[in-house]
């Protein structure tokens, strides 16, 4: 039986929830609004909310001065590359653990999770040194590998929890009908696994996009993604609110949109299936 709720109570909930929601969202909203102001309007006192002359000049200036597109491209390559590579490596592993479990499967899964707990700063110098020796410092390839390794445990875990929900009987049936392992994976498993794989890709793309320890410490110019692009605005000469806002908006917009699609998977992915 559904609880009966008075309209009055529902209205009250609505007002309160919207107020809190807007308050939490406000810093993002304010950044987006400021990005359309002139620098003078951005620091006007009292602050201007909607009553200003909307302009796109900040976006043009940011792109022109700092070559935003190059950073964006680096972010896309690094986040996309590490995610795709991670999924390619993780799908077979998760498949094996979900459908051919052995006594050690649980231990392997937990051990993989434990590598995720390794604090990055604890291995900063070794990785830094290896990057210098291997000529990977400030290269996109190097970051793709590092971010892939950081997120691999999450990718394996997410895929594992999704694969486990696929009923094993279907695979048995396919096997009975004489399907080879290749056919089984290609025609039976893959179509059923696609939603899970898509969610995994989405969440890990977001995590890799926002990763800000390795991307700040292992890049300089050539491979610097948007995290580093934004960090460069922390120097005093970059203190122009409108331009800072335009740069910030451009850095977060793609991920905010992707994030909306991934909110359901977020819980499962980040709690390693412990909360669904």
């Amino acid at each position: 039986m559904a609880r009966t709720v008075t309209t009055r109570r529902k209205s009250l909930n609505t007002v309160l929830a919207w107020a809190v929601g807007l308050l939490i969202f406000f810093p993002i909203l304010w950044t987006i609004l400021t990005s359309f102001k002139t620098e003078a309007q951005a620091i006007a006192s009292p602050p201007l909310f909607l009553n200003f002359d909307w302009t796109l000049e900040n976006y043009a200036i940011v792109q022109e001065r700092s070559d935003y597109m190059r950073f964006l491209w680096n972010s896309v390559i690094i986040a996309g590359g590490s995610t795709v590579l991670g999924v390619i490596i993780a799908v077979p592993a998760a498949w094996a653990m979900a459908f051919v479990p052995s006594k050690r499967t649980k231990d392997i899964l937990l051990w993989m999770l434990s590598t995720k707990m390794l604090p990055a700063v604890g291995v900063l110098y070794p990785i830094y040194l290896l990057f210098i020796r291997l000529g990977l410092l400030d290269t996109r390839g190097g970051l793709v590998v590092v971010l892939m390794l950081i997120n691999l445990p999450i990718i394996v875990w997410m895929l594992y929890t999704y694969f486990r929900e696929i009923p094993g009987e279907i695979l048995e049936a396919a096997r009975m009908d004489g399907a080879t392992l290749k056919e089984e994976i290609l025609y039976v498993l893959t179509p059923m696994a696609i939603p899970g794989i898509a969610s995994t890709v989405l969440l890990n793309f977001i995590l890799a996009w926002n990763e800000a320890f390795w991307t700040l410490n292992l890049t300089a110019v050539d491979a610097a993604p948007l995290t580093a692009f934004i960090a460069s605005y922390s120097s005093p000469e970059g203190l122009f609110f409108a331009k800072l806002s335009a740069a910030s908006t451009m850095a977060i917009a793609p991920i905010l949109i992707l994030g909306w699609f991934s909110q359901k998977q977020l819980v499962r992915g980040l709690t390693f299936g412990a909360v669904k």
Partner: protein, 288 residues
């Protein structure tokens, strides 16, 4: 039943992931351990030989160690308290029937998707700037003297920024947990005349226990290693130098690799203590 053949195929399929993660774990870890027993200054003489546990002793006896431990604990503790308490309240609010629930949910979750450098920089400049920041305007509006947030109230500021980033995560997980609560149980309690506060303490809170534990453990692991938020705002000044930041400075800024590596080993031990508890919960869930 799995055949011998499928078992060996399965092993082969797991091999790349296992080998890669094993390498990712063992190679840097071994190197960190190795460096931690050496006097190693890349810019001032390089490898100056073995020093035993000297780096470990020096790291904890340096004057910046205890303040860093304190800063770390205050930030992690502060953020945990704020996000868990507000997260529970927010999750309960979002669970209520209302109009536009989906949109509100999106508004609340949004900060989680903002990259750390952006949120740190936006808060630092557009909100916490003592002259032009929005908070300064607000303070002046009420006739108060604006605060130089990041220098005068540096810890509060960092905790605010990080809490804003992590509140969505806590809320979302707690909301998921609340939604799995059997509503009949609540209704029964309501009909029996249990007041809201009692219903909260005896039904909702116990039900959320596991979710709260998970939120605390996962956030602790991430919060112990926050970096960008400090890198962009204070650069470790004004008492905000956490353990992670201290090690970063030792290793990359002052290039004292031996000392920094010893600190790194401490950080790894600390994170593992937290991790053990998390793994136990996750592991139990695997059996179910």
């Amino acid at each position: 039943m799995a055949t011998q053949h499928s078992r060996s195929v399965a092993r082969l399929m797991m091999a790349p992931a296992v080998v890669l993660l094993l390498g990712w774990m063992l190679v840097p870890l071994t190197m960190t351990l190795y460096f931690s027993f050496k006097k190693y200054l890349p810019l001032r003489g390089g490898d100056l030989g073995w020093v035993g546990f000297d780096n470990y002793v020096r790291f904890v006896s340096s004057s910046s160690f205890w303040p860093a431990v304190q800063a770390t604990l205050v930030i992690v503790g502060g953020v945990l308290v704020i996000t868990v308490v507000l997260g529970i309240l927010l999750a309960m609010l979002l669970d209520q029937p209302m109009w536009g629930q989906g949109v509100v949910r999106i508004l609340v979750i949004a900060p989680f998707f903002v990259m750390p450098t952006v949120s740190a920089l936006v808060w630092k400049n557009m909100f916490m700037d003592p002259v032009n920041g929005l908070l300064a305007h607000l303070w002046r509006f009420f006739g108060a003297e604006p605060i130089s947030w990041l220098s005068e109230a540096s810890m509060t500021s960092i905790i605010m920024i990080v809490s804003w980033q992590w509140l969505p995560f806590a809320t979302l997980i707690l909301l998921t947990a609340i939604q799995s609560l059997d509503s009949e149980q609540l209704e029964a309690a309501e009909m029996d005349g249990a007041p809201p506060l009692k219903r909260f303490y005896h039904i909702i809170l116990p039900h959320l226990g596991r979710a709260i534990t998970i939120v605390i453990l996962i956030q602790t692991i991430f919060l112990l290693s926050i970096f960008a938020e400090i890198f962009v705002t204070t650069g470790g000044a004004f008492g905000t130098r956490t353990l992670t930041y201290l090690i970063f400075q030792r290793v990359l800024e002052s290039q004292n690799v031996g000392l920094g590596s010893a600190g790194g080993v401490y950080a790894i031990i600390l994170a593992n203590i937290v991790a053990i508890f998390l793994m136990r919960i996750v592991g139990k869930n695997l059996d179910a």
